[in-house]
Symmetry: C2
Subunit: 462 residues, 2 copies
């Protein structure tokens, strides 16, 4: 207690009283986007600049005080969770859009800017930042970088790692690694920014970033189709890639039970007159509506002719498009209907998906009386999401369901986290996806950059 008071005293003296939240006010914040319990921590720091992050880290380093960087707290693996003994460092005050460079097509931002702020700033200059996800209004660029965020357009634009040209990060000892490169090609020594992308705030705190911008799509075409089997989903994906190439920006699959549950709960009339085994939602982002329609038309004609699909529905208005995406995105409906719901974010080689799912469903049927396996996801990115639930399932079944899902994922060559990261929730299963030498090297890197283990300790690595 003595010690904590000394740290808080030093932090307040250095950052100012208003930048150090303590006491009851901490509980005014919820733990996360999905966990609405009050947050607990020894303090929450609100630095206004990279210099203040440096100052805070130096104080914490001196006292070996654990520090947890926080963006929008929307991560689904508890990457930014705080214990009562942790100090949180929120980037929320560092949310400036510093520069939009139209000629070089870059945007330079502080890490606390939300994804939506960045999307809108790009849009104002008739440019486009392609990363997107439901939490866009809350999640921050720093968090997107720390978790190498994905979403539904990775197929076309890559994940966050591919969208970052330069960044600035503060190491646990207060060293500022400023690599704010703006150029597409720059091979001058080691690409240090890669250390901080996807390492979930365990190696450094991302403070600023330069992101790559693209041409703003002038034409978006959204199509829903029915597909009779998973093998045909894959065939249709291949065909879509052949016809649409890089104009194809999303290729999402939904199993019938997922699609039907969502539309029934939301009281939406199905856009299709049939109830196929799988629904595919595909979207193109191009620069010429007329030409894009020709591309999409050729794909649909060929797929219809081959019997791969029977009822393609092309969204005719923004409202129709929004409705199709609402169905895809609104998985929380399932959370409202069942309790518990065991959710999964895994990746698999596309060629293994069908057999993996069939085996999993068989195993679930054998183990539980009425288990439902709701499946949807970014099939073109090798990324599936599952929600497993049923009236007979209880919280006590979590371990058995986890073992079943992850065991099969690994035996089919997949990985236990596709886009949500490891955080606190998956660190016990990280060794299922990474081998001994890989884990050893990760620990070596952590030891090198954070020898006192003060930065987001206990996340990702044990």
């Amino acid at each position: 207690m003595e010690k904590m008071n000394q740290i808080i005293y030093e932090l307040k003296r250095t950052l100012g009283d208003d930048a150090v939240i303590v006491g009851e006010k901490i509980g005014d914040r919820v733990v996360s986007y999905i966990d609405h319990n009050p947050m607990t921590a020894k303090a929450i720091l609100l630095p206004r600049s990279t210099e203040e992050i440096v100052a805070a880290l130096k104080i914490c380093q001196t006292h070996a005080q654990p520090l947890v960087p926080q963006g929008g707290r929307t991560n689904l693996a508890r990457s930014s969770f705080t214990e009562a003994s942790d100090i949180a460092l929120s980037l929320e005050r560092m949310n400036a859009i510093e520069d939009v460079d139209v000629t070089n097509r870059t945007i330079t931002v502080q890490a606390g800017a939300t994804l939506q702020q960045v999307q809108e700033a790009a849009n104002q200059h008739n440019l486009f930042f392609p990363l997107d996800m439901g939490s866009r209004g809350s999640c921050t660029i720093g968090g997107n970088i720390a978790t190498n965020a994905g979403g539904p357009r990775v197929l076309r634009y890559g994940s966050m790692r591919n969208l970052v040209l330069g960044l600035e990060a503060v190491l646990p000892d207060g060293t500022v690694i400023s690599s704010l490169n703006k150029m597409l090609k720059n091979n001058t020594g080691y690409d240090l920014k890669q250390l901080f992308i996807g390492s979930e705030g365990t190696l450094g705190i991302v403070s600023r970033a330069v992101l790559r911008l693209w041409e703003k799509p002038q034409s978006i075409i959204t199509v829903l189709v029915d597909v009779a089997s998973f093998a045909q989903v894959i065939q249709f994906l291949r065909q879509a890639q052949q016809h649409l190439g890089s104009v194809l920006s999303s290729f999402e699959v939904m199993k019938r039970n997922y699609f039907q549950t969502i539309i029934q709960a939301a009281n939406i009339r199905s856009p299709l007159p049939v109830e196929p085994a799988y629904y595919v939602l595909l979207e193109t982002m191009g620069l010429d509506r007329e030409l894009d329609f020709e591309y999409v038309g050729k794909l649909l004609d060929e797929s219809l002719e081959q019997g791969l699909i029977t009822y393609p529905v092309v969204a005719q208005t923004k409202a129709q498009r929004d409705e199709l995406w609402f169905i895809r995105d609104n998985s929380e409906v399932i959370g409202n209907q069942y309790d518990p719901v065991f959710s999964f974010d895994v990746s698999l080689p596309i060629s293994s998906m069908e057999k993996w799912l069939a085996q999993l469903e068989q195993n679930l049927d054998e183990a539980f009386e009425d288990a439902h396996c709701f499946m949807f996801g970014h099939v073109g990115d090798c990324n599936l999401h599952l929600m497993i639930c049923g009236d007979s399932l209880t919280p006590a079944d979590k371990q058995a369901v986890d073992d079943m899902v992850y065991g099969l994922v690994v035996s089919f060559g997949g990985s236990v986290s596709a886009e949500h990261g490891i955080g606190l929730d998956k660190k016990h299963i990280l060794p299922m996806s990474r081998n001994e030498p890989e884990l050893w090297l990760m620990h070596q890197l952590k030891g090198l950059l954070d020898p006192k283990n003060i930065l987001n300790p206990g996340k990702v690595l044990g």
Copy 2:
């Protein structure tokens, strides 16, 4: 001498006599693609497997023996140069294409496979590996990874870093870091492969890799246009990006003196009836020839109307396309006409290029009587190449010209290496592009992974 014999003895005993070249046979090999002097080294190792690389590294580690990994020895910054006291490790026997996975669109290869082998293997399956460069028949995938190779299609497909899904690398102590991921999304802990991409063989030896494949372009359109000023080149680039989006695969610029020198030397009749200040060679890679022509047609119509260009020439045959690329690629003609030629590979924010070039040319004119500055490059990737020469220039002027070029590059916000890397030739100027904390962290990483400094010592870092 005693010590060396012991190492050679151990290496021969472990790898076999035929896998350890010593003595005069070493000089049968040239230093590199551009330096045809005989190579010198204590030995050249030719391992056949990852296990043999491990064995070789363990022996070298025990004896603190410097080891230089070699691919096709085509690097232009002397990344794979050997001193007489070094042992070279060539991956040439590890050149297998292990697997082409059509459904997942990946290719798994040993690191000694040439770029051309990979391009051809993909092509046989109607898929496409987009990395390309003039040395494709000699350069290897391991070298492409170690140098984060670029080339003329980075604009569309990214550099090598973006094309690698997984890799296997051997650390100096013989630890095998095998991360042969095949999936587009995989966020399970630190992305260790990034350490080995672009670190020029100083942190580990890349032994195998999984690469991402794309749809094979069904239509390639190649266009040469005249542009009156660099400002208009940039305007035309922006227009091309707006009209063509991701179908645009290359956007190359050539200054008049470069273009004219090449066509005169090669006795090619200019495809254009004018001699503009700049030539732009642009190429699209799409999936539908008819639609791509519409896209390109709209761009050219608009640019003609606005007076940005006056004589667009669209290649009508493969021979015409090859001739246009021959002009762009054949910079060695200048090397045949002048001696010395000081060559540069730099990157600059696109918005700084014009002023940078004007200032550089003015400074060159002031310092030298007849300096020519031949300029060409991947303007869309922020990457320009220069060849500076003139009858009055002598090898003694190298330092002055280097200082002039790099000094201006840095003052205009650029970097001293765009795609060729640092190797031996640029390590003295690396601190111009990277700050103290960055260099400190690079040394920390090198110290962590290669504490005895045996792997490609003296390259990249001092």
